[in-house]
């Protein structure tokens, strides 16, 4: 193990780039999450009805419809053919996320993300074991289950317990006991399974992941030759299995993180002290600097 591997995560980046630069995307992400929530709260709180509705379905400036495609898919599975407004709304959302990466929803919009991020932060601070780690594709199975149950019961089944829409609806319309579900997700991630909910189980995340399979916006390990094996990106990435193929790719292998599991959170960009990662598009296969084997540094020492 290299010396740098043992440094606390992010310290090197903060030292070299400054705190702000080393938390740029994290801060932007929190701003974005707050922004999207605030849009929905402007109405109920300040009587400013720019956006009405919830994440499941909304209307912006009285005209633009947006519909959560997964909720609508459940409705379709349940046997209801929706009106045009909802269909158009879903198509817009589908197109947007197909372009910028499905799981951008996870990192930049979903209100549960700050909850599970907080759970992970505490998990780290307390130095807890990673606990139960179901296979990553469990969420795909659950996605299938959700649609199957919708079809069998003829209801929009997942919405009976979906903590995401419940939390959002709770904040915008009234909480009831929805907070208990959110607390459950927090405790699950904290005590039962590290990154368990968003990383392994959430069928919404799975759906958006599938949606972004061919998305344009991508993170690329463009300067992977500069990697000094500090492992910080692996430590901060919520889906860290996506990094290795790009970062450790041999000559001629793409530096792009192409896994649909990547949430485009940009945390790896933040935390890398030598700026290996950058946002780019999926056709940009540039690799800067000498590629692997990267001079004397890596394989030899590691």
């Amino acid at each position: 193990m290299k010396e740098k591997t043992k440094l606390p995560v992010g310290v090197e980046a903060i030292r070299l780039k400054g705190w702000w630069q080393a938390h740029r995307f994290l801060l932007l992400r929190r701003l974005s999450q707050g922004f999207f929530l605030l849009l929905f709260l402007l109405g109920p709180w300040f009587g400013l009805w720019w956006v009405a509705g919830t994440l499941a379905g909304s209307r912006t400036f009285g005209i633009l419809p947006l519909t959560d495609p997964l909720v609508l898919a459940q409705s379709l599975a349940a046997g209801h053919w929706p009106e045009l407004t909802a269909l158009i709304g879903a198509l817009i959302v589908l197109a947007a996320y197909a372009l910028i990466g499905g799981r951008v929803y996870c990192s930049w919009v979903c209100p549960i993300n700050p909850v599970t991020d907080a759970a992970h932060w505490l998990h780290d601070r307390l130095g807890l074991q990673k606990g139960w780690q179901p296979k990553r594709h469990t969420r795909l199975w659950l996605l299938g289950t959700v649609l199957a149950v919708s079809a069998l019961t003829g209801t929009v089944a997942w919405e009976a317990i979906n903590p995401i829409t419940m939390l959002h609806r709770g904040l915008v319309f009234g909480m009831g006991f929805a907070w208990a579900l959110v607390a459950l997700v927090f405790l699950f991630d904290l005590l039962v399974s590290r990154r368990g909910w968003c990383g392994h189980l959430c069928p919404v995340g799975a759906f958006y992941g599938l949606l972004g399979t061919h998305s344009l916006l991508r993170v690329s390990a463009t300067r992977r030759a500069a990697c000094d094996d500090c492992m910080d990106c692996f430590a901060v990435c919520p889906e860290n299995h996506v990094i290795a193929p790009a970062l450790r790719g041999k000559d001629g292998e793409t530096p792009l993180i192409l896994s649909p599991d990547c949430t485009n959170c940009g945390r790896c960009v933040d935390v890398c002290s030598v700026d290996v990662f950058a946002f780019t598009h999926r056709f940009d296969r540039r690799v800067e600097g000498p590629s692997s084997p990267p001079g004397p540094s890596r394989q030899t020492v590691a």
């Binding site: 109405g43 009805w49 009405a52 509705g53 919830t54 499941a56 379905g57 909304s58 209307r59 419809p65 519909t67 959560d68 909720v71 609508l72 409705s75 349940a78 046997g79 209801h80 053919w81 929706p82 009106e83 407004t85 909802a86 709304g89 296979k135 469990t138 199975w141 659950l142 299938g144 289950t145 959700v146 199957a148 149950v149 919708s150 069998l152 019961t153 003829g154 209801t155 929009v156 089944a157 997942w158 919405e159 009976a160 317990i161 829409t165 419940m166 609806r169 709770g170 915008v172 319309f173 009234g174 909480m175 009831g176 006991f177 929805a178 208990a180 579900l181």
Partner: protein
Amino acid sequence: MPAATPLSPQRRRFLTDTARMAGGCALAGGGLAWLARDARALPAEALRPPGALPEADFLGACIRCGLCVRDCPYDTLALAELGADGPATGTPFFTARDVPCEMCDDIPCVTACPTGALDPALTDIDEARMGTAVLVDQENCLNFLGLRCDVCYRVCPVIDEAITLELSHNTRSGHHAIFAPTVHAEHCTGCGKCEKSCVLPEAAIKVLPLRLARGAPAEHYRKGWEEMEEKGGPLVEGVIDLPDRLPGPGTDNLAAPGGFEPSFTLPAPGAGE
């Protein structure tokens, strides 16, 4: 079948993993199905907005966006909160006794609905059937006690069609009338204004979901008098219309005191041939 070849470890592993996953999902799916179906029992005092599809269809159609709630100018509607309200979580409903539906002419709630869970085919609010009012407690209804409260009648947006006052003799006082508020489900929209305004501490008239409020005639029942009117004559030719036997004086019911002999005698069986 070919001779059994031992499964390769990868394949065995794949199969056990798949089986395990399928089992887990069946379990989770069962739980979810139970929850989703459980939510189907809409409590009697919760009414769906105008134009709502029948409950079973509604639960497959409503995405719980709340746009109908937002566009209701009277704040009639609310989204059900988990564990606090009866209807399926996040679905819109109203409680007539709290805030009834004001039956807006332009039905903004229906217009707002992006999915058709509130059926856009409803364009005339008088056609809405959110439930139907039932005078559930004649013993406490002031009108039934012989007073002239009439409030439920007077507030009804479909007055004289959905609700009428039916006059009858007040046998208690002997010389007053009873104006019984009488709902005609055919015209009642279930708006709940009558229930809201009933002056009693607990309303004597309540809007109930149709499934509770209404009986249903058996498929094969025909109402003779309606059929006769339609046909313009007796349904079976050659049937003699016997005089009605009513009890009491002045009738031909011999069993009743004061009864008298019928004005004609039926021919004895076999006599008239």
